[in-house]
Subunit: 290 residues, 2 copies
DNA sequence: AACGTAACATGCGGAAACGCGTGCATATGC
DNA sequence: GCATATGCACGCGTTTCCGCATGTTACGTT
């Protein structure tokens, strides 16, 4: 009654993906191998783990139990890997960073450039996504986030306090200036689907003209003059064809943080990155407030 | 940066055994394989794990870290195996039982006999030892113990309440009877190295003649007439050549329990064994008290 | 109805992992 | 001081495991 730990891991991944092929991808082996490992696991445990169906493997109750225990094992493995990463002082090898796309293109690019020049031995991988990656699972080593807090069980440093304001293309701004009482069109983000509350009393008439789920698209629409956009100060300033308009006076906006898992935080590579990042933020902090 | 779980397990076992050969035994592979797995683990983790010394592998700090996380993984694996065992209703396959040697030879043998006749498909493995095996680690499925409680986090049933008393060989008993005031020689157990406190007032003079660390040897000495022994009632009664003597009146003694891990407890095989065990205990309970 | 897709099953050849035997170093015992 | 035991390193032959190519089945589309 001895069961190979790798087979338990394989069972877990098949339960998670519901297909041999999916599990095989994550394991970086052929799905045939996954099939054989499942068979071996069933034999060692003396329990049927999956019903073989045309559209995939359906886990039995026993497989769910195996998967839940394997998940605990995986958590321990991740803990180990984080610990080893955190103790690693070498300034070489891979470093994975994640940040919102717009923050990278409009602000972080120089940091990446300087970091790569300073530490050419470190291969920096950047995951530019608005998704919140799971640093506990090491989906990334370090994240730069726009958020009021660093998040549960993560360590963080506040890099920048920032404000938001309203931006539009110059022609639209001229029109508004010419007649402040005319109806002002807004382009708003799905997350905050209304006209901002604190608009200036000088501009009494507003309506939502478009709602977008993507900030890049909103920027394009604003550049085309389709309306006024509320966005972080730094982003409006960094975007060609947009200018500040006093329709919405500057107001608080979630801060920019660099966050990481406490286990990984002390790593030499992460320290090195934070050093360059922080010095860059100090230099540029003026761009983020009025 | 992908590490095979079986390699982590192997590192843990080498840390635990300090030698390749020891780990290999437990893994049931050749020690050459262990050596190769260690090397592979060091390569995947990018860390030295052991100093190769003449008398074994000495773990580095990194190996201790690996081992401690692998231990968490092992705990999860054991949890899984216990759960599967506990859900198993088949009345076939292996069942491992542990009990003190003397309890088996003097009382439990008929239970084993009846169980084997009733369930010939179940291969019963009996670990006759005074050591407290770790049921959490599945060193045994079920234990019969002489103890005041079932023990931490284990489930248990009290099988029998019992008393102890003093026994000696018939000639010695005659001599004591002839002169109750003469000096009485005791053979005592290392765990309780003095003459019992509650000896009868009719026999005022005692001394410890021998101390033993093994009950079987004590019985032999008592049979040879070397002294009086305090032992559980059932044991004295079941031993040829010993008889009850009133030097020490019957007094409380730790109860006999059957204990198991709660995860494993519901298993069909365990239920079947307990059923036979309990009915046997009910029949024989008179042997255990005065 | 024919076709395409997305699953898994199966058979085969090659690569990787394994076990065994041997050799070397160090400690232990007579 | 020599024999023995224990523990690891290394090389070789074997077994096992794996990836690839192909076959099969179910489902959906045209």
């Amino acid at each position: 009654m001895n069961i190979a730990w790798d087979d338990l891991r394989t069972v877990m991944l098949v339960v998670r993906h519901t297909t041999l092929a999916g599990a095989a991808d994550e394991l970086d082996v052929n799905y045939t191998t996954v099939s054989r490992r499942i068979r071996r696991a069933e034999k060692s445990l003396g329990v049927m783990l999956f019903e073989r169906l045309a559209d995939g493997y359906r886990p039995t109750d026993a497989a769910q139990v195996v998967a839940s225990h394997a998940k605990e094992m995986e958590a321990a493995e991740l803990g180990l890997r984080r610990h080893i990463l955190g103790q690693d002082t070498h300034l070489s090898g891979a470093l994975t960073l994640t940040a919102p796309q717009l923050l990278i293109s409009s602000f972080l690019a120089p940091v990446l450039d300087e970091f790569d020049r300073t530490h050419p031995q470190i291969e920096l991988r950047v995951l530019a996504t608005n998704d919140i990656l799971d640093l506990t699972r090491l989906e990334a080593d370090l994240a730069i986030r726009i958020s009021p807090t660093p998040g549960d069980s993560l360590k963080g440093l506040r890099l920048l306090r920032q404000e938001s304001a309203s931006f539009a293309n110059p022609e639209l701004i001229e029109r508004i200036k010419a007649d402040p009482t005319a109806l002002i069109d807004w382009i708003v983000y799905d997350g905050y689907p209304n006209v901002p509350k604190d608009v200036s009393a000088d501009f009494p008439n507003h309506r939502v003209r478009f709602r977008f789920d993507d900030m890049v698209a909103m920027i394009g629409a604003a550049q085309a003059g389709l309306g006024v956009v509320r966005m972080p100060m730094f982003l409006g300033r960094a975007t060609d064809g947009l200018e500040l308009t006093p329709v919405l006076p500057p107001q608080p906006y979630p801060d920019i943080w660099v966050v990481g898992h406490p286990d990984v935080w002390p790593s030499g590579k992460l320290q090195a990155f934070r050093k360059i990042l922080i010095s860059h933020c100090k230099k540029k902090s003026g761009n983020f407030v009025s």
